[in-house]
């Protein structure tokens, strides 16, 4: 299964403004279709269990349903502009293509619902607890009826869609980053649906790099990842407790940072450039909080130092030197940062769920699954960008695209043998 994207970012202000209302006929149709899809998915499960392969007719129906769902929610979440067809046709800007039917192992089929639990938890991070068009994938066991359309906690998709709605109404364009986040989420959810409906036994991949979109970015804040995925079971088991002294230190440092940031804000407003000493202090804080989050979230293995020294940790944000900053942007910085803070908070959910799942995986395997690590690295990179923006380390707005084009090789610690440094 693969997702294709041919969207050009342009949006019609009128259809964006009324998007939810316009989608009502689709929602009705989709609910009806979902009921049928549940029944057929159950039949498909039995058939695949017996024959080891999904029957052609059932496979066709369910793949069509997933394509339709993808089109519909790409439309609702503003990842695409055209009104989708009620029977999915080729050429929709965000589309799903399915390969030939594959043979499937019977035990994986039999245990499908249980095996899907980790992916369902990740899906919850994308969807949030309430507005759950996608949680309507029938048979996913945690929603799917009309009640789940009620407004609820902010998953990544919902937060990005709401913010994208304002931008699209104002500028008639969906921002690069937001569109790509939605595609990332829809791709994962489509893979999850394929897995739950027993169309494939390939497990949903939460690695952002598996999304067929990448955005150009020269954002000065990037994340260098030289982690080798190895995890010490003992430190993983006690990870939260081991981080307690760091939490205490972060708390104390945060108090100092609040004052330092205020002084920096005043100085930058006056001189147009943050004072070098304060910039260094705030940069160290951004680095340290990222190191600590990476440690607690199992994105990296070693116990982090307390000073936020550049290049001292396998998951390390690369931050810019003090540079000239626009006074108007500086003046309204905290208000301007609100949308980015919302997205960051939603991505934090992804980080937490990945950490929760990674804890079990690392204990069992002594390794962190790469896909989880990469999802976390994305959330951490965005969080570092937001912090840098709020704390006046840079005046470049955080860029939410999960995959960046042409990652430049940044100076940093030597990677372990056989491991290439990744830059998120």
């Amino acid at each position: 299964m693969r997702v294709t994207v041919s969207d050009d970012f342009r949006r019609s202000r009128l259809t964006v403004f009324f998007r939810l209302l316009l989608a009502i006929p689709h929602f009705i149709w989709w609910v009806l279709w979902s009921i049928a899809a549940v029944l057929i998915a159950i039949a498909n499960w039995f058939a695949t269990l017996v024959t080891g392969r999904s029957p052609d007719a059932l496979h066709r129906f369910l793949t069509t349903y997933i394509r339709y769902s993808t089109h519909l929610f790409a439309y609702v979440y503003l990842a695409a502009n055209p009104y989708p067809a009620f029977v999915p046709a080729q050429g929709y800007p965000v589309d799903v293509e399915f390969g030939e039917r594959e043979p499937q192992r019977r035990w994986v089929t039999a245990l499908r619902l249980f095996l899907a639990v980790p992916a369902l938890l990740l899906a919850a991070a994308f969807e949030g607890s309430g507005f759950g068009g996608w949680s309507g994938y029938p048979g996913d066991g945690y929603g799917g009826d009309e009640k789940s359309f009620a407004w609820g906690g902010g998953g990544v998709l919902l937060v990005v869609a709401v913010l994208g709605w304002f931008v699209s109404v104002a500028r008639a364009r969906m921002p690069f980053g937001f569109r790509d986040v939605v595609v990332y989420g829809l791709r994962f959810l489509a893979e999850l649906a394929s897995y739950l409906f027993v169309l494939t036994e390939r497990y949903p991949n939460v690695n952002p790099a598996a999304t067929p979109v990448s955005a150009p970015s020269d954002h000065p804040v990037r994340l260098t990842v030289t982690d080798d995925l190895r995890r010490s079971r003992l430190t993983v088991f006690f990870r939260l407790l081991l981080a307690i002294p760091n939490f205490v230190w972060l708390f104390l440092w945060t108090i100092a940072v609040i004052f330092a940031a205020f002084v920096t804000w005043v100085a930058t407003l006056i001189t147009g450039r943050p004072p070098e000493t304060l910039h260094r202090f705030l940069s160290a804080y951004v680095r340290y909080s990222t190191h600590l989050s990476a440690y607690v979230g199992l994105t990296a293995n070693p116990f982090p130092g307390f000073t936020g020294t550049a290049g001292s940790y396998p998951v390390d944000p690369k931050l810019p030197a003090p540079e000239k900053q626009h006074r108007l942007v500086t003046g309204f910085r905290i208000f301007l940062a609100l949308p980015a803070l919302l997205v960051s908070s939603a991505l934090h959910g992804l980080l937490v769920v990945s950490a929760f799942l990674g804890w079990f995986a690392s204990l069992a395997l002594g390794r962190m699954p790469r896909s989880l690590r990469e999802a976390q690295a994305y959330a951490l990179r965005y969080s570092a960008q937001v912090s840098s923006y709020v704390l006046l380390v840079t005046d470049r707005y955080a860029f939410s695209a999960p995959v960046l084009e042409a990652p430049e090789q940044l100076p940093g610690p030597e990677p372990p043998p056989g491991e290439t440094p990744a830059v998120a």
């Binding site: 003992l234 430190t235 081991l242 307690i244 070693p302 116990f303 130092g305 307390f306």
Partner: protein, 371 residues
């Protein structure tokens, strides 16, 4: 307490009941052996950790002290794991004898929280010792003693404010304390009730705090009707005596004295691994610290028993009610299943209070002196 005081022989079963005494002996014997086995297990784990724990240095990207903290915390984590079976066994035993009420989940959460507190403690300990080792090298333990004594003072001062489940004591208890304070020639101390009955049925009380934070904490299990007013007054007078005779200050002074050989020993042992300046010495330091504390605990306990005996005597002088004191100690033995006459070796090594038999004997001795 008079120097010439001779305690009379008393029958431990008298007033308690032979059956209860037998049960208390069995109850405490089990806990005693479990404790010894758990300490041996902890030492065994720490010996292995002292030899092989340095491999965890590679799990740290922190500097010298940060890495030391990680090694310290991991050592305690391994000890915690080694203690789990013993703790579970003890919990089962306490629940079987209705001394502990809380469930296994509550116990686990509390144990986890306690481990978190231990982690913080060891991090602070290593932060201080490793920082001092950077400045004073092998003589770090000399300045460390006043620093730790100062921290103990600070903790003793703050502790009353850190107890979560506390409420004001009934008015009559406050009046009793004011009256007793006059007799003991000291300032009245605030009395508060700590709510512990949710977890345990064992009665208890303690004196804590320094200066303005001085408090007497009575567990609500002491006020649930099992003990009459006279018995509670003996407890109050005993705890007030701790404050009147500055036992908390004396306890900290003893601590400082015991820290000298303890920290000196740690410094001497870790010198073989480059001193506590080096994180690789931390696993060995942990072993030395725990082993040294165990070795010094009989001395520490002897001091504690002496202070408790003095408080018992002052309580008798204050309440002038030896019958209530005897009844209290008998009921304590019954309710907390405390062995009135523990084996001599266990008493010397582990007991922080005089035995129930000795406390009853002291009440009788006081009574005879006044006759």
């Amino acid at each position: 307490m008079p120097d010439d005081l001779v305690l009379p022989e008393v029958d431990p079963a008298s007033g308690i009941g032979a059956g209860v005494v037998e049960e208390a002996e069995e109850f405490e014997s089990f806990l005693r052996w479990s404790f010894i086995a758990s300490q041996l297990a902890a030492l065994a784990v720490l010996v292995v950790y002292a030899r092989r724990g340095t491999r965890f240095i590679r799990e740290s990207a922190a500097g010298r002290i940060g890495t030391g903290m990680l090694l310290g915390m991991l050592g305690l984590a391994l000890v915690w794991l080694s203690q789990l079976p013993f703790q579970l066994l003890e919990l089962w035993w306490l629940r079987r004898h209705d001394v502990w009420k809380a469930g296994y989940l509550d116990w686990f959460v509390e144990s986890w929280a306690l481990l978190a507190a231990e982690f913080l403690f060891i991090c602070l300990w290593l932060l201080i010792t490793m920082a001092l080792a950077a400045r004073f090298r092998s003589s770090w333990w000399l300045p460390a003693v006043p620093v730790f004594a100062g921290l103990a003072l600070l903790f003793a001062f703050l502790y009353p404010y850190l107890v979560v489940d506390q409420r004001a004591a009934p008015l009559e208890l406050k009046r009793d304390v004011a009256r007793f304070a006059e007799r003991q020639d000291t300032e009245p101390v605030k009395v508060v009730v700590e709510e512990t009955s949710e977890f345990t049925s064992a009665p208890n009380a303690y004196a804590t705090g320094l200066g303005p934070s001085r408090r007497i904490f009575l567990w609500d299990t002491l006020l649930d009707g099992r003990f009459d007013d006279g018995q509670v007054r003996v407890v109050l007078a005993h705890e007030l005596a701790h404050h009147a005779r500055e036992h908390i200050w004396k306890g900290i002074a003893w601590l400082a004295l015991l820290l000298l050989p303890l920290l000196g020993g740690v410094a001497w042992l870790t010198g073989r691994r480059g001193g506590l300046y080096q994180p690789r010495a931390v696993p060995l330091a942990l072993l030395a610290l725990v082993a040294g504390s165990l070795l010094l605990s009989p001395l520490d306990n002897a001091v504690s028993r002496e202070l408790e005996a003095e408080a018992d005597w002052i309580a008798l002088e204050t309440t002038r009610d030896p019958a209530a004191a005897r009844a209290l100690f008998r009921d304590l033995a019954r309710e907390a299943l405390e062995d009135p006459t523990p084996p001599h070796w266990a008493y010397q090594a582990l007991a922080t209070h005089p035995s129930i038999a000795k406390r009853i004997a002291m009440a009788t001795a006081w009574e005879r002196r006044k006759e």
